[in-house]
């Protein structure tokens, strides 16, 4: 086993573009193998998307506009008020920008995971199991939608505007915290996508429950935490740790106290929470695959 592992790794380094023969889900070096397989499938879908360029441009613009409407709604709210939950428009825009950018990244990378339920139902999931490529990589890259760049662009623009308008007291630590937050936030959302997909092995038709955590979580994190009831804030801090996507680090950057009164170092925990979430999601995914019974259709 150890020998095979070394061999597979050597091969991965020597010829990164080749798909190793018999590289199934149990093949050693699974992470490198998965990333490579993911890249191959994504490249294929991108070529197919680019075959219809007009359609791609239209849907990407649509994606941009659809997500932009959330922000237009917030701006319309601010035509009647000066502060929402004690936050000014640029501060809310900062929350909006960080949440949307992280969610956009996760949606681009893993957003296809919610198709799993359909694949289980119509039996095409079995085909993925038969291929000598890690299953998670195949599901994640399935129908990779490049148009989702629209959401990242829109979130990034709102974040950029917020940073220009806010007069923040930057320290080197805070400067580092911002990109770390965006990446850790994306990783937490990715973990939710994977865990949600694993849940679909049992629940079948329940893709919308996943949406309530992903899309719903994204919407919630666009608003100041002080708006929500304490139980809800506790839930998204300790149960599904969405508060680490942007709330806690953003409050530190904005210089605001957090409503739960947690110790200050918690604001820097996002990367660690992201790693933990990904590990747990990985375990859930394995358990899901093991429990999978084909519908036989």
């Amino acid at each position: 086993m150890a020998e095979a592992e070394a061999e597979a790794e050597a091969e991965a380094e020597a010829e990164p573009r080749a798909v190793a023969p018999g590289a199934g889900a149990r093949t050693p070096g699974p992470v490198a193998e998965s990333v490579r397989a993911y890249g191959l499938v994504v490249a294929m879908w991108m070529r197919s998307t680019m075959a219809y360029r007009t359609s791609f441009v239209m849907t990407a613009l649509g994606n941009f506009a659809a997500t932009g409407l959330d922000f237009v709604t917030i701006v319309l709210m601010f035509s009647h008020i000066h502060a929402l939950g004690g936050f000014t428009l640029p501060e809310v825009a900062f929350l909006y920008g960080t949440a949307s950018t992280s969610f956009g990244l996760a949606d681009l990378l893993m957003g296809s995971m919610d198709r799993l339920g359909r694949r289980v139902r119509d039996g095409t999931f079995d085909t993925l199991l038969l291929r000598p490529v890690p299953v998670l990589a195949q599901v994640a890259a399935d129908r990779f939608a490049l148009r989702r760049l629209g959401r990242i662009l829109q979130g990034g623009m709102v974040l950029g505007w917020a940073l220009l308008r806010l007069d923040l007291d930057w320290t080197p630590l805070k400067v580092l915290l911002l990109p770390a937050t965006l990446l850790a936030g994306a990783a937490i959302f990715c973990a939710v996508f994977v865990a949600g997909a694993a849940f679909q092995f049992w629940a079948g038709d329940a893709a919308e429950v996943q949406s309530s955590v992903t899309y719903g979580g994204n919407t919630m994190l666009q608003y100041p935490p002080g708006l929500f009831s304490r139980e809800l804030v506790r839930g998204v801090t300790f149960v599904v740790p969405l508060a680490f996507v942007n709330w806690l680090p953003a409050l530190r950057i904005l210089g605001r106290p957090d409503p739960l009164g947690l110790p200050g170092w918690v604001d820097f925990l996002s990367p660690a929470v992201a790693v933990l979430c990904c590990a747990l999601a990985g375990l859930a995914w394995r358990a899901g695959i093991r429990s999978y019974r084909s519908t036989g259709s």
Binding site: S55, M58, L69, G85, A207
Partner: protein
């Protein structure tokens, strides 16, 4: 003939009723979104009581009516239009045109069945959940509820008529995905789903309230909230009926033009 279309309505209802787990999951999602939007509205109405002519309880009721009508009105797409566009693209539409049923009538009946199921399946429970968490301004008058039911029905017809026009674009574009997406984004915003239209500032509000999409959510919600009373309520229903008639007629005209374009590819 009425019996025939009635049967199509029933089949449309039953078709969606088979997805029970998906419906339960959808109720859960609507409830989560209802909670999130409710809290943001509470913050808004705390600072501006009576914003848009609503009390806080009315604003919160508006949120839960919105969640209840979101899928009923197909505000985020997902109705019959994808299927019709696919039939136009693949050429199966030629078979449909030979059938002894009217194209528009058939799809309207099927969509009424779908909307009916979603109103019961995904409309009632989120409203109940909302009422358990917040103080809602739900009317007790049976007449108001009856007017609301008529208003929802008219709203569904307007929603159908818009989506029928969108689907027919596939005769010219082949891939109607972009148009369908543009249509539901516009509809989502101008129906009042993201924010009540009477909170929209100035001229934007006036224009938004005159557009057909206000018939999908703003008008039914205002009828239930008692914003339109007496003749006002009848005028509101007439507004919806007017748009329904105009858009259905436009769809009929476009259908006549489009079907003359049908070329059945050989093989």
């Amino acid at each position: 003939m009425g019996g025939f279309y009635g049967a199509v309505v029933v089949r449309g209802f039953r078709r969606y009723a088979t997805y029970r787990v998906a419906t339960a999951a959808g109720v859960f999602t609507n409830t989560v979104f209802g909670l999130i939007i409710s809290y943001s509205y509470i913050a808004l109405w705390n600072q501006r009581p009576h914003l848009g002519g609503y009390t806080e309880a009315q604003a919160l009721t508006y949120v839960w009516i919105g969640q209840g009508l979101l899928v009923t009105m197909a505000l985020m797409g997902g109705g019959f239009e994808d299927e019709l566009m696919e039939r136009i693209r693949s050429g199966d539409i030629a078979v449909d045109l030979y059938r002894p049923a009217d194209l528009q009538g058939w799809w309207l009946a099927a969509d009424l069945g779908r909307a009916g199921f979603h109103l019961l399946g995904r409309g009632v429970l989120p409203l109940v959940c909302g009422a358990l968490v917040f103080d809602l301004a739900v009317p007790s008058s049976a007449l108001t509820w009856a007017l609301f039911a008529v208003s929802v029905l008219l709203g569904v017809v307007v929603s159908f008529a818009v989506r029928f026009l969108v689907a027919l674009c596939a005769f010219w574009l082949l891939d109607g995905t972009g148009v369908a997406q543009a249509a539901w984004i516009t509809g989502l915003f101008f129906s009042g789903m993201t924010l009540p239209l009477n909170v929209f500032p100035g001229a934007l509000g006036g224009i938004a309230r005159a557009l057909p999409w206000s018939a999908l959510l703003q008008v039914p919600a205002d009828v239930l909230l008692g914003q339109h009373r007496g003749t006002g309520a009848l005028l509101a229903l007439a507004f919806q009926a007017g748009w329904a008639a105009a858009l259905l007629a436009a769809g009929r005209l476009l259908q006549a033009v489009a079907t003359r374009r049908v070329v059945v590819q050989g093989g």
